[in-house]
């Protein structure tokens, strides 16, 4: 939370000159692009995620056992890589259009029509393909945990299977879907590298332009704060819209009635799910494998191991800390009677909406004064100053990640705790058990699935994260993502494919493991 306040306070001294220049030239376009991109990506991810989750939980869609976890995998792919791969693939000069020209003997772009991947639409689809698993995972968990008695009751009252899904199951899953959608929105709006491949200029472009181009960090911070407020507004509006809706039952029936799809429906349903899995994960992963096969050696693979260890190390701590903080915030919000009990959780969640580099700088502004204080104290007591302890340390990176990914951990665990009936909270008083016993014996075991999902999501995101680790790291400290960035920034993505495969595989392991774990517990 502290770094966010630093950011806003640095933004207050922004110059109005530059702002009005931007406003008169490019800013209106950037803003409309930002709004459209945010809307399209959220709508598409919700469609992709909710439909696939509903099919997996409520129908006999073909390949269900594999699809169930395959649909989570796009999350392990760094969005900037997928963006690069797809723009490269569908570009005018890319293999798809080249082959078409060869087959049909078209000479140039006047001879045929092909969609332009480097547009707002192209960017929205590709980003949604990478981000929809958030919606899918949270919606699937919500559907699975729903009380099936309610669905049964609605059927008895004369609703068709379809109606009961839209009138009962979907509204009940809405909080989870809303959390996922807000994560998607924040990630989309804070992104810079991905939209840059698509040549789409957004508010983030303006933030980087003002800071790096016009050397005006204050205005950049002001713009970042505006972005943050915009997201705050959207999220609060959504929460208001469903305020007062709550359902909890104490005896949950988890036996799902599976809808048997007709043949035609089966083709569409399984086609839809497989298309998502293929475009979101399988195809880009194969492209990466081909690149690595062509450009890399086995020695290079072994040379990446130290960086991989660093990535895992940082991601492990970030995930664990985020989960601990999220648990504290969630339990505080649940058990406190303070009227501001929602605040810590909401404020801590906004780190995800700020572009990584901007957040990293806010982080530096937070640590530098503390470091200076330590040195001043040392000098006062006549010790030699120890130099910078926090700035440029691994601790700084882990701290930055904990701030950045708090939204993910908070949202996931919070939507989990809502599944626990309120009546349980009042049990200790009647049973004469103290609070901590209740939490460790009742709440934590019940929250276990959400805790794992939160841990996993933060772990996978932290493995992929680039801008913050790049700027905050100590000397000679490389992670897989910084290694890849070195190569990409010198226009050598092919050589970076190997590192990307490493990131994807390391992200896959916990996803698959988690899934096995869940299957075991659900059996």
């Amino acid at each position: 939370m502290l770094p966010l306040l630093v950011l806003i306070s640095e933004g207050i001294s922004a110059s109005t000159d530059l702002f009005s220049h931007l406003w008169q030239t490019v800013l209106p376009d950037y803003i409309s692009n930002t709004l459209l991109l945010g809307t399209f990506v959220v709508l598409l991810s919700v469609c992709f995620g909710v439909i696939s989750a509903a099919l997996i939980v409520h129908s006999n869609v073909a390949g269900k056992a594999i699809l169930r976890w395959l649909l989570m995998l796009p999350l392990a792919m760094p969005a900037y890589l997928v963006a690069y791969l797809y723009t490269d693939l569908f570009d005018y000069a890319g293999p798809v259009q080249r082959t078409l020209r060869l087959w049909f003997n078209w000479q140039n772009f006047n001879d045929y029509w092909f969609f332009d991947i480097r547009t707002l639409g192209g960017a929205s689809i590709i980003i949604a393909l990478v981000l929809f698993p958030y919606v899918y995972m949270l919606a699937r968990t919500a559907f699975e945990l729903q009380d099936q008695n309610l669905l049964k009751a609605s059927r008895l009252l004369g609703l068709s299977a379809k109606q009961s899904f839209f009138k009962v199951a979907l509204p009940l899953a809405r909080p989870a879907i809303a959390v996922a959608a807000s994560l998607v929105l924040m990630e989309t709006l804070a992104d810079f590298a991905t939209v840059q491949y698509f040549a789409v200029n957004t508010l983030t472009t303006a933030i980087y332009d003002t800071w790096l181009g016009y050397s005006d960090l204050a205005t950049a911070n002001a713009l970042a704060s505006i972005l943050m407020l915009f997201i705050l507004f959207t999220i609060v509006a959504e929460q208001r819209a469903r305020a007062g809706q709550a359902h909890q039952s104490n005896r949950i029936n988890k036996i799902h009635q599976i809808i048997i799809l007709s043949n035609t429906a089966q083709i569409f349903a399984s086609g839809f799910c497989w298309l998502l899995a293929i475009t979101g994960f399988i195809l880009p992963f194969i492209l990466l494998l081909l690149m690595a096969w062509e450009y890399s050696t086995i020695e290079q693979f072994f040379a990446l191991i130290p960086s991989a260890t660093n990535s895992i190390n940082v991601a492990f701590w970030a995930a664990s800390l985020s989960v601990v903080f999220a648990l504290l915030f969630t339990l505080f919000k649940r058990l406190s009677t303070d009227k501001w009990r929602y605040l810590p959780m909401q404020i801590s969640g906004f780190g995800y909406a700020i572009p990584g580099t901007v957040l990293a700088m806010a982080m530096m502004s937070t640590f530098a004064p503390i470091d200076y204080m330590i040195n001043d104290i040392a000098k006062f007591f006549n010790y030699s100053p120890p130099g910078l302890i926090l700035s440029g340390s691994i601790f700084a990176i882990i701290f930055a990640y904990t701030v950045r990914f708090a939204a993910i951990a908070n949202g996931t665990i919070d939507s989990g705790i809502k599944q626990i009936p309120r009546s349980i909270d009042f049990a200790p008083a009647s049973l004469g058990v103290n609070l901590s016993t209740m939490l460790t014996k009742v709440h934590l075991p019940l929250l276990k699935p959400s805790i794992w999902v939160a841990w996993l999501l933060v772990f996978v995101e932290a493995m992929k994260e680039l801008p913050a680790v790049l700027l905050l790291r100590p000397f000679n400290f490389e992670t897989l993502s910084t290694k890849i960035y070195q190569l990409i920034s010198d226009e050598m993505l092919e050589q970076g494919a190997l590192g990307a495969i490493f990131i994807v595989l390391l992200g896959l392991l916990p996803i698959i493991w988690l899934n096995r774990n869940k299957d075991n517990t659900s059996q």
């Binding site: 220049h21 931007l22 030239t25 490019v26 376009d29 723009t87 570009d91 005018y92 000069a93 080249r98 000479q107 140039n108 772009f109 480097r118 840059q196 698509f198 040549a199 200029n201 980087y208 332009d209 790096l212 181009g213 016009y214 050397s215 960090l217 062509e294 260890t309 190390n313 492990f316 580099t357 990293a360 700088m361 530096m364 502004s365 530098a368 470091d371 200076y372 040195n375 100053p385 130099g387 910078l388 700035s391 440029g392 691994i394 801008p467 790049l470 700027l471 790291r473 100590p474 000397f475 000679n476 400290f477 490389e478 910084t482 070195q486 190569l487 920034s489 010198d490 226009e491 092919e494």
Partner: protein
């Protein structure tokens, strides 16, 4: 948690604890060293640093980032561990100088081997290599004699490709146009240039050459060394084979040149080693290595470029002061915004 999960978690914690101990002890044992904040990719500069360590025994520590390095240095202030800043693009060096993050290095070696056009008048920053903003043209056009001004010529309507106008390399070019033609004329040039584009500015310098190879456009802007790098890449060689590399404005002011360079950090804790490394980077062997691995032009006049780079021919470089290019940067950006170049 099941017992097996417990075991895994314990194991993980132990490994991580061991790893952290190993890492911190590594830091504590370091002896003679020099710390570099680099805007350049480590794999580009590592061969140079390895050679330096080999001959002096001084360890070189590097942290690489492109965005925010000067903010990090500024916030770290007098306790910053940084000794040397390595950058590409003149404006970053000038920014460091203007924010008072560099100190004077009156090394006799640097001032004698680096031409005065390529170092600051107060000896705070020094160029190490130069790179030209070339114009690539499709081989199918035959030999062309082209100026940057021609990018606005109607005969190239729909035939030009470029990366974002706001990329540092293009901004520096626009700055040099402002110095030559003034603000108003440069804006008109930008607007006409924009109207000639075959597609919205996108991708990187190599991507534009690929587009020429695929006949989407005939002309593109690109730095010189990418041509060399594409020629030695198995997939990209065909792209490079489809174009000629042209040095613009040879009959008048000369081709626009940018630099990569270095500066001594204001609070450098290992100043002796830092000065040794700076002298080394300007030495003949280091300059030769730069020329060969990165295909850039060595800043020393007595070191030849690589054979491949030399085969593109000698050229006349614009003599415009780099300080003026950096000074015009903000105005250049504003004009690019006003021409809505990227939209």
């Amino acid at each position: 948690m099941s017992p097996s999960t417990n075991k895994i978690v314990t194991l993980l914690f132990t490994t991580i604890a061991l790893f952290i101990t190993a890492f911190t002890s590594l830091l504590a044992n370091a002896t003679e060293e020099v710390n570099v904040y680099s805007y350049r990719q480590p794999f580009l500069v590592k061969p140079l640093f390895d050679k330096f360590t080999e001959s002096t025994g001084i360890k070189v520590n590097v942290v690489f980032a492109k965005k925010g390095m000067s903010e990090r240095l500024a916030r770290e202030g007098e306790y910053s561990p940084a000794d040397i800043l390595l950058t590409t693009d003149i404006s970053r060096l000038i920014e460091l100088q203007e924010r008072n993050l560099l100190q004077v290095n009156n090394s006799a070696i640097l001032t004698s081997v680096i031409p005065s056009q390529y170092r600051s008048t107060d000896n705070t920053w020094f160029a190490l290599t130069t790179r030209v903003r070339n114009i690539y043209s499709a081989k199918r056009l035959g030999a062309v004699n082209i100026n940057y001004e021609d990018l606005a010529d109607e005969k190239y309507k729909g035939r030009i490709c470029t990366r974002s106008g706001k990329h540092a390399y293009n901004v520096a070019l626009v700055s040099s146009m402002i110095a030559e033609h003034g603000e108003a004329e440069t804006l008109v040039w930008l607007e006409k240039f924009k109207a000639n584009l075959a597609r919205k500015p996108q991708g990187n310098d190599r991507g534009q050459v690929q587009a020429i190879h695929q006949n989407l456009c005939d002309i593109s802007l690109g730095n010189s060394y990418y041509f060399g790098k594409m020629l030695v890449d198995k997939k990209q060689k065909v792209w490079a084979d489809a174009v000629n590399i042209n040095f613009p404005n040879q009959s008048n002011r000369g081709a626009h040149v940018n630099i990569s360079g270095m500066g001594l950090a204001k609070y450098s804790p290992n100043i002796k080693n830092a000065k040794m490394l700076m002298d080394f980077l300007a030495s003949k062997p280091a300059q030769q290595l730069y020329a060969h691995t990165n295909m850039e032009y060595p800043v020393r006049t007595d070191v030849a470029p690589s054979a491949l780079v030399a085969s593109w021919g000698k050229f006349k470089a614009d003599k415009l002061s780099l300080e003026i290019i950096a000074k015009n940067r903000q105005l250049a950006l504003k004009l690019i915004d006003r021409a809505r170049f990227d939209l």
